[in-house]
Amino acid sequence: MDCPDKIQINDLVKISVQRYQAGEKEALDDIYQHLTQFCLRVISKTCGKYINPDDDEAGIISNVILDALDKYNFDRGSFTVYLGQAVRNRTIDELRKEKRRPSVTVSSLDTDILSSRTEEAVFEDIIDDIARKQEIQAFEQLLVPFELDFGELVNVSPRQSKTRVQAQRAAWLIAQDSELSSYVITKGMLPHKLLEKKFNLNRSILDRYRKYIIAAMLIHVHSLGYLKPYVLPVLEEGEQWLELKE
């Protein structure tokens, strides 16, 4: 699954900005979606509320992006940081201009973005959030053939940590075996007998947490980098992997 992480998005932006400034205007198409999402998040954080692409506050985005692309040069550091500052300043200006909200001041805007943390770190986090969101959307699509969604996963998620670790272990073992993972993906079922025989897995856990195991397995199989650490089985002290049956 091709889900760019923060570094890949940053690299893509850097290359595309270079191409754009070199006269290749189509390069903007490659990053426009990323930049729009980034700007939306900066505006959301500045205003302290969720902003949709259709909201009035989002109307400045295209102008600010084009303006930033024209004025930016690489001596100024990262383009996303530069764009983030431009969006934030413009948002504050717009809010102050609004007669409907004359009381809006810089201090009443979101504190996180103006706090002691460096702006760069805040904007980097936003890029991370965007990359994570794209991965989650991809994961959501992967769940569809199995008639699963996040609401359902809440219901089938193991509550006890020991059980959860065993379910995660099952998912991880299936993902390591291409034959087993192909079986699960194509049939939508777990090969209970084989798993019991080969990995000595608990039948009741396989039955009860089948949906959770499939979801966790999909994260491993499709190498969803942001989600993977969350479903990796972590053994508690003194706990041992069950021996594989020959």
């Binding site: 998040r41 959301s44 302290g48 509320k49 969720y50 959030d129 965007i130 990359a131 994570r132 969101k133 794209q134 991965e135 989650i136 959307q137 969604d149 996040f150 609401g151 996963l153 809440v154 998620s157 193991p158 509550r159 940590s161 959860r164 995660q168 959770y212 966790a216 942001y226 989600l227 969350y230 479903v231 990796l232 972590v234």
Partner: protein, 199 residues
């Protein structure tokens, strides 16, 4: 502050689903704007802090209780009773010094009461039992406070003031009762005289 950390997986109509660090999909309520993909931190008070708070509350309760029931001075009332008084001038122990005191204690419950209220009740009860005549009140009802080795003279004086106040209240009460009785008798006599004249 310990808390749940996770990724926001879904945020629809106020319902947010997060994937916790332990790999659990969990539904949470978030009261601030948050988007899919953002990291979520739930600040909750760790169980250790609850336990510590419980221990502190328990310790304060025990100390407070012990302090409440510790006698700071003894108040001797009418040579018959000895009352242990705490720092808040409340009676926490009672001891009869003779049969009259035993009888008084059987009729009254003084524990927990302010010393002035306790003395007032004792004086009232003594009159009811016939141990005390109004004229004898000050003479036959000596009040005295003594410390418990802590030599807090100021506190002793304060306790004695409270005791005198209580006794004075009792005396005033009886005086007003007697006056109203006398007034009633006079009224009755006037009525009787009037009736006799009419006849």
């Amino acid at each position: 502050m310990a808390g749940i950390k996770g990724i926001v997986m879904e945020n629809k109509n106020g319902h947010t689903v997060i994937l916790t660090q332990q790999g659990e999909f969990r539904r949470v309520i978030i009261d601030k704007p948050i988007e899919v993909g953002e990291l979520y931190y739930e600040h909750s008070i760790s169980p250790w802090k609850y336990a510590l708070a419980a221990v502190v509350i328990m310790a304060l309760t025990i100390i407070g209780t012990l302090d409440f029931f510790s006698v700071k001075a003894y108040a001797q009332v009418s040579d018959s009773l000895e009352l242990g008084v705490n720092r808040w001038s409340r009676v926490v122990t009672t001891r009869a010094l003779d049969d009259q005191g035993t009888a008084l204690l059987q009729q009254t419950n003084l524990k927990g009461k302010k010393i002035d209220v306790a003395v007032e009740e004792i004086a009232d009860q003594a009159v009811v039992q016939g141990d005390l005549e109004q004229e004898d009140t000050w003479k036959e009802f000596p009040l005295q406070a003594s410390d418990k080795g802590n030599k807090d003279q100021e506190f002793i004086e304060r306790v004695e003031q409270h005791m005198n106040k209580g006794l004075q209240k009792s005396i005033d009460k009886r005086k007003s009762n007697n006056n109203s009785d006398k007034g009633l008798k006079k009224g009755q006599e006037k009525n009787e005289n009037k009736n006799n004249k009419d006849n």
